[in-house]
Symmetry: C2
Subunit: 230 residues, 2 copies
């Protein structure tokens, strides 16, 4: 892997910095708000359904999440929730966007060690503006050549990304915490992938890891990346 790879793409959310816990926290606040209508677990299940239904139209990110919370609140309350509640939901989204960014342990050490050996890019789905904001707050901007935003982390989009980067698939390495989004489509294209798990995974992103692939490595901690490509 070390001799072939020219570009290393890092997933952002829950690979470089904490993200999923903020969604969990917002979901908890929302479930609490809706507790007059339904127990928290059922509220979360209804919200997840709305979110997945909305992905093709509204995509990823906090704005989409806000719209899904409002729609779910309308459904669960039969359109009776108050204007104040809707304002509170928008406030949950606004607060989430204004959270501090906590860079995960070992990330900066890895980026620093790799930055002069490879072209490093940040490859993220979700909202460009949100991700730029987080990158700026993280202090990690200096390590990346540029940001690549994919509307969906699927094979055809990675194909375009690799073409755009002017490398062959075997020269491309993706590092991320989501098997579904960061690993499987890249392996399918003939690229390299390293899975670094995060303690929390969004229900929708859960997938099985195919451990038998030659271009795939599953690690426990991001610092172990340096043993493979450092």
């Amino acid at each position: 892997m070390k001799d072939k790879v020219k570009v290393i793409a890092f997933d952002a959310d829950d690979t470089l910095w904490e993200n999923e816990p903020y969604f969990r926290k917002s979901e908890d606040q929302f479930a609490e708000m809706m507790s007059d209508y339904m127990p928290p677990h059922d509220v979360n299940r209804a919200l997840l359904k709305t979110e997945i239904d909305n992905l093709p139209t509204f995509g990823y990110g906090v704005k989409s999440f806000v719209i899904s919370m409002i729609e779910t609140a309308m459904k669960l309350s039969d359109g009776t929730i108050s204007g104040k509640m809707v304002e509170k939901i928008i406030e949950i989204g606004r607060n989430q966007l204004n959270q501090p960014v906590f860079v995960l342990d070992g990330v900066e050490k890895v980026l620093k060690a790799l930055q002069n050996k490879y072209k490093l890019v940040m490859a993220t789905k979700g909202d460009l503006m949100e991700q730029e904001g987080k990158l700026e707050k993280s202090g990690l901007e200096q390590y990346f050549h540029h940001i690549e935003v994919l509307s969906e982390k699927k094979k055809s989009n990675y194909d375009k990304l690799i073409a755009h980067l002017d490398v062959r698939p075997e020269e491309f390495l993706m590092i991320g915490n989501s098997v579904r989004s960061d690993i499987l489509p890249v392996l399918e294209l003939g690229g390299n992938a390293i899975h670094v798990p995060f303690h929390t995974t969004w229900e929708y992103e859960k997938a099985e890891v195919n451990l038998d692939h030659a271009s795939f490595h599953a690690l426990e901690h991001i610092e172990q990346v340096l043993e493979l490509v450092g």
Copy 2:
């Protein structure tokens, strides 16, 4: 201009295809919905204020527009509008995202004539997913090397874009309908810019054109681009 330029970037909304009329139509529907509370002109003014206040947090695109409509409805009704109304607002956004794409007259002719002479990119702000969807529906995808999404079309982002494209500013030409977003920041950086007006401009995008700049051309119709770089 013709001898120096290597990359031509086209703005998307209202340069390649109609966009602003859909926002106008949605705004009209929203103002109509809110007509019990305020005359249409005042509803639109309140909405514009909310949108501009929300730009730093929520950015451009339909999702942000939906959130701004909901917030405005809450403000104007003092939090009393019904769940049904909120659902209707979300529906306005969903409908807007599902509209057909009308490519503007002359666009395809220009792209076809330029595609083998220059690297063509689509440079848009707003939501990647929305813009990818429109590009696909437009049938223009084949002409572009790739899409560049800028969270905001400001000087520092064009600077990054030009660096990322590996060209010098004088080798970069931006074509678009917004003086504020497509023209002024590019000229400031030493790039080339061509303004092709669209019949409707969002209030926020209006700005004066500096006609005296050597690297700037103002055209009446996009086909005239071919007289400059064809």
